[in-house]
Each structure stands twice: as structure tokens, then as C-alpha cells.
Amino acid sequence: MKVRLEFRGGAELLVNGVTQHTLDLDDNNNKWTVARLLTWIRDNLIQERPELFLQGESVRPGILVLINDTDWELLGELDYQLVENDNVLFISTLHGG
């Protein structure tokens, strides 16, 4: 199952500065929830200081998660089940002006 990840607003600094990632997730046995994806990202993409991405089970305060350009809060957050071609955007909220 192909899924696209994007990191913006500074969140890309957690994944080596790479803003776009295309994953091919093995979905033969288990469904991929966003919760499972977050753990996968922490274990496979985050270079250092994983606590700046995940805190407990969820993303740390200040990062918004958008699934196909829609706030994950409208889609079930951690329980949302990913489907083919989903786009998951992690964006740090900016504060500069």
C-alpha cells in the first residue's frame, strides 16, 4: 500500500530535511492505523530526539496532522485507517512574523 508522507514548517528537520517520502507499507496482515504509522516513523525515519516528534502515543504539541489535506481530528486521529494513496502531512505551526 503506497502512502505519501510530507513534513513541513520545520518538521522536516526531524527527518533529515526531506520533505516528501513515499512509503510502500506491507498491509497483508495488519491494518495500518495512524497510530501504527507514527510508531513506524519514529523507528524508521526519525534520526534523533524522537520525543520532538512523538510524545506518548501521539505527535508532540505544535505539530498538526493533515490526512489528504484534512485535519486528522475530523478523521479519527490515531484510529484512522490508512488506505492506498493517502497523503499524510505533518506540519509544524510557525510563530515568526
Binding site: 513541513r8 504539541p61 505544535g62 498538526l64 489535506d69 485535519d71 502531512l89 510563530h95 515568526g96 512574523g97
Partner: protein, 283 residues
Amino acid sequence: PDKHQHPLNHREVARYSRQLILPEFGPEGQRKLSSTSVLIVGCGGLGCPAAIYLAAAGVGRLGLIDYDTVELNNLHRQILHTEGRVGVAKAVSVALSVKALNSHVELVPYEVALTSQVALIIISKYDIVLDCTDNVATRYLLNDACVLGNKPLVSGSALRYEGQLTVYHHNGGPCFRCLHPKPPPPETVTNCSDGGVLGVVPGMIGCLQALEAIKLASGLGTPLSQKLLLFDALQGTFRTVKLRGGKSDCEVCGETPTITKLIDYEQFCGAAATDKEKGVQLL
């Protein structure tokens, strides 16, 4: 007398003629705009373009808050200041530039930091508030003050090559706290002093803040409520994402709010309300 009803005078017709012939705007839009007051918090990279375009369009009263003075390193993006005004209060400097363009806008510069002591009093005098600030603590403060004072908050931000824009606390949309109930860890927050910013990025976002304020004031178009605009200057791309609505359990705008007066936001965020230094862990 209802200020919306006053006929436009000769000077206004001459000055605003290119707006007045817009069918959806017209004299009615101009009257609404001239009877609207807008508070701009932060007279820097976002506040400069927002202030000049709102004044040009003929907003009635413009409040300008900034505690800071103009520095040379501001001038790469803060386009209403000048070399000759380095050292001058930013609120005063912006007021001078705005007045030269449109002397008929009432200008109220505030050379103060927005604190929990003064925020509600100042905000109560305005119809619309623009968040043109540069730090997390002031953003929470301004959000809570706008919810408590029931004003729409046009929030812009910019860093490096990216910008973000949304309208909070308007028409059932979320407030900043609905999206971010907990502040970010201070070490994850970068300001323009530390991270840098391409000057035209706050330029774009500040223009869009002026546009959203004009739309709110005149009733024109669709405000960017419950939506977040993301701007990427390097790619030249814009993207609008859909946000949650106002949350019923939000601590400030929810059904049973626990925040009913302003708190200590530097303590809440563990970071100072300034862009001068890296946020300090106060907690």
C-alpha cells in the same frame, strides 16, 4: 447616527474610486470598511504590509502595537520602516508611513508589550485583531484575549521560506487553543531571528491578513475560517487544508471554559514573549 449610512464625501469617492466600482464592494463596502477598527499586534514583517494595505483601502481606525524599536536588521522585511528611523518605536514608525499614504485613517500607536494586564482593554476597542507577532506566548495571549473579547483573530506567521494563515474564532471555526491545547516544547520553536526568513514571505502573508480583515469588515467573499493556508515560497505553491471546528471541550472557547481571564503566558509556554532570544525554559 449609523456610521454605515453616511454618504461618501467627495474626497472618499475620488480616493477610493477603483474600489467603489467593484460591484460586490461598492459604496456600501467602503462605508463598512471606514466604520471598522482593526488592531495590528506586531509592527514587523507581517504588520507592515498588513497596516499599509488596510490603510490604503480606507479602514476607519488602525491600532498599532509594538514595544520594540526599529533595528537595521529589520529592514530586509519590515518595509514601512526606514534607515532614518532606526531606534524609533516601531509602532510610531509604521504610523508615520501609513499617515503619509492616507491621512484620513485614525492611527493609534501603542508603544507597549501586549501583556495580560492590558490586552483585554486594548482589544475591546477594536472590531478585528491581526496577530502579526513573533512568539508563542503572545500568540496564546492574543488568542485567549480575542475569545474572551469575542473578536475574530486573523493569524499570520512566517519563517524561512514558509508562511501560514488562518482566521481564528470566527463563525464556528476553531481558536488557536482548539488546535493547540498544549504549547510546543520551547526548544522546538524557532523565530525569525534564529531561523531567518525571506522578507517577501511575511510580505505575502501580511497582505493576505489585510485581505482577510477587509473581507471580514465588508462581508465580501469567504473568510479563511476553519481552513489553514500554507505557503511555500521555494516551490511557489499554496495549499489550503481543512481544520476542525471549534472544540466543545476547548479550555477557552469551549462550552465550559476553564480559562475565563488571561493567565501568565510566558509561564504557560515556558518561553519569553519576545523574539530577541531563544525561548528560555522558565518552568
